[in-house]
Amino acid sequence: MFKEFDPLKKKTFRLIDNSGKVINTKWFPDLPNENIVKAYKDMLFARTADMQTVSYQRQGRIYTYPPNYGQEAIAIAAGQVMRKEDWMVPAFRELGALLAKGVSLKEVFLYFMGYEDGSIYKDAHHVLPMSVPIASQLLHGVGIGYEIKYRKKDEVVFAFVGDGGTSEGDFHEAVNFAGVWNVPVVFIVQNNQYGISTPFRMQTASDGIAIKSVAYGVRGIQVDGNDYFAMQVALSEAAKLAREGKGATLIEAVTYRKGAHTTSDDPTKYRTKEEEMEWDKTDPLIRLKKYLKSKKLFTDKEEDKLTEQYKKEVERQFIEAENYGPYPIEDVFQYHYEDMPQDMAAQKNDYERFLKWKEARK
């Protein structure tokens, strides 16, 4: 597959078209129907959660939030391919993959409400917290990959970044180190066409991102990131090769950020309605639903029912997060070091004395 879709051949790996029709039977996966239906349901859940979170933000109930809609196929496919022991190294726009790894929506809400506790990921195994400094997390993925190789473990790292991140030095250092060290890492670039407001053509003069893998001596492939099946196959193949000791793969998942960068941003300033409508035709949910309908695996009625159910579930977890309670003073200090330094403890005591004084004045 990686030979046939060598980035130098300038081909994009795509298995279904915009109408949900299979256009490449050679690589079309033999997946159980229930997995495909589950993928759609998970995408629908992620989108419902996103839409609702944006409206909570508008109501002033949560701070800045980066929506995922339009990019669900990538995260959901990754979520299905990742095993429990595999590592996920997120950027911050991979909601579906986080949920698949066992992170709760409540934790995601807590994080964006301003609690570090939202990064504990209590029931998730091998997931790093979201990384705000762009592309810096990819190197962490490579370091984890080194540990996997050193300890001869059967694990793979899935490390995410956006198209803007590929302009950062850390992207290049990470892919280069991964090539030299031959570590089991799958880099997933969500090329959603925009770094906040900067269009992809302003990020690089190269013909896509997958082609950058060639210079670092790792496998690369450009995939239609809005095609669930293509993502599922590309990720599975890359993970399989990584498990066999065959090193890293750079997957460029071509997609479109349908929403804003974050809730603080207004895309109407830098892109046209026409452009958005053009990309709407490739929407990953619509395409997968068309496929499912053609196979009689899913109906609009089911969708309506599920959406109502999901909205309630999102609301339930959001309210739980809203009722999380006050932020204890200890939590400001206690996690910085294994043992709290004397000066930090004194600062905490000073602050507590002030609070007592303030309380007494009331």
């Binding site: 990819l138 190197l139 850390d170 280069n176 996690y335």
Partner: protein
Amino acid sequence: MVNAINDALDIKLKDDDSVIVYGEDVGVEGGVFRITEGLQKKYGADRVFDSPLAESGLVGTAVGMAAAGLRPVIEMQFSGFTYPGFNQIISHASRMRNRSRGKYPMPIVIRMPYGGGINALEHHSESTEAIYAQIPGLKVVIPSTPHDAKGLLISAIESNDTVIYMEPKRIYRAIKQEVPEEKFSIPFGKANILAKGNDVTVVAYGAMIREVQKAMVLAKEAGISVELIDLRSIYPIDRDTIAESVRKTGRIITVTESPRSFGVASEITQIVTEDAFLHLEAPPKRVTGFDTIVPLAKGEHHYMQSGEKIFYEIEKTVKY
């Protein structure tokens, strides 16, 4: 000191297979200062090796290794080459424990030769300990003797927090000292009183200890009794030892080779102001580099602190 650092690495590599040593030229060559000489041969190229030439890559991969349970000890070839890796230090190594509420501690040691006095090129002479000491989540230590170099490095590797371990390269091979062969560690946050005295407290660390000792010969001739404290740990800082000494001597001078403003000497001045205010008989003095870039080799002597310069300040403070 070179042998003592090598010895500490050797002991920990032997003792714990999660210790991984890597950096630019540390493998076959053993590092530009030969600190890691012989270790690759002894422990293999998967435990001691050359990394690609990229400091962000070095620190960033160490963050990942630490998250996965290894104990990376990485070498920055010179402290002045660390800046491309600074984002990974300040944004991740120092923060991951707090960000993950303790789920991912960061047992990383970042070794870096620092300081001037070796007639080096630009970017090879600065002392940046105050920059690191300002970053929440990091520990910063600096040995001044082979004995401390070994004990502090063993503590650093065993620490579950990221440690900036700064090596005064000017005295790498300047001091001969018997160092115990076995494993021993020196706790962080504990200064060492190198000389007892009554008239003035001098706090220093790294290569400046030797310069203070030169000044003490002159002070003794002048009848001035100096208490010398080797700070050893920049953060956490041993404020109790400093304050206790000043309560006795009433005077304090801090000697560093870093720029003066917003530096370690200023911090120490504040510590004695808070903890020994009523005992002070003279203004706390900062004997440091200027707020300038370290000049290249021909001009460097203007910037560096000498025994004579330190004695000049000691005399002024005692006579205040």
